[in-house]
Symmetry: C2
Subunit: 193 residues, 2 copies
Amino acid sequence: MARPRKFDEERAVDAALEAFWAAGYEATSTQDLCDATGLGRSSIYNTFKSKHDLFRRALLRYMERKNGNFDAVLESAMPAKEKIRALLGVIVEEERLHAEDRRGCLVVNTCIELGSRDPEVAGVLERDYRRRFEALKAAIEAGQRDGDIDRAKDAGALAHFVIAAIGGMRVSARAGVGRQALEGILRTTVDAL
Amino acid sequence: MARPRKFDEERAVDAALEAFWAAGYEATSTQDLCDATGLGRSSIYNTFKSKHDLFRRALLRYMERKNGNFDAVLESAMPAKEKIRALLGVIVEEERLHAEDRRGCLVVNTCIELGSRDPEVAGVLERDYRRRFEALKAAIEAGQRDGDIDRAKDAGALAHFVIAAIGGMRVSARAGVGRQALEGILRTTVDAL
DNA sequence: TTGATTTTGTACTGAGCAATCCAAAACTCT
DNA sequence: AGAGTTTTGGATTGCTCAGTACAAAATCAA
């Protein structure tokens, strides 16, 4: 029938993800994407509609991956507070790395860069937020049933609070805050549950 | 001596600030800056070294303004917890606005956009963080002396925590979180003090 | 082997980018 | 008024951007 593709589409999305993650949407050029994926422009534009489309795909893939880890922690056997401590601990670990590796979280970065001026991306971000929120809320409610978390508190409010803490730690890390301070934020957050 | 300037430098910085605030550093072109300030390219480049330099000036101006309000609240007569509630309340108010006005906070936006790849800007952000941190820590310590805030807690850790909460609310707002949820985060944060 | 079909590499498009150049205009001082 | 100095507007620089055009290469079915 026809000439087959020489590359794997998913691998290309992964490579593009790395590029977008490192520099953000605007600051990543199509040439950067060619370099990162090892593909020619034609292959990229033949496979994806546009840079924007490729970004959307990469973002979705990042969310899939990240939420996999997120859910794995929430579905583990730990007490609820320990689960949340573990989730926040990941942030401390990731932000501890040296400057050039400090890419933060693509979702947080994208919230700030595109959340308020790219409706399509905003929709993706909103759906992802809701997904994380529901998973977290369920884990907190389970913790309340176990007596691990105060039943008088509103599980939804706590879930929003924890997600905000994650975003806040990400922002503070970019402002130059070190590991110790991040751990302090982690402790204070967990103590608030 | 010479031809005098027809415009006010500070006003130009203010106008540039609006543009950068609305779209971020990368997404604001020099043409956008000309339109926003009403100046020609020559005037801009004659007054400021570069787009980057103008951005730095605009960012510093934003910080000056913002920290003025910040300090005003912290130096008011309220109990410490009320001061912090007021600081967080400003975020809820600002993020409540309609989509096109939802610019968030230029400092938070810049932390994410440039914090990890622009050393000069990173330095400015770090100094600004420290300034806010010290002011907040002092207010919390005063609150501890007044008995308004638990003396057993580490004032520094609480200060980092509050700053992270602000950043986190900003990120969540961009992810589409509404006013009610933001108010829940506010309450949970203040209760944690 | 041939013909249909798709991918791939390369050159290219027009637009927009940050920044510079230059001469005319505008002003102050003598 | 005239010399000296700075600002200003507009044209222009060289470059990069996202995206396209096109023909050669690669594969399949017959």
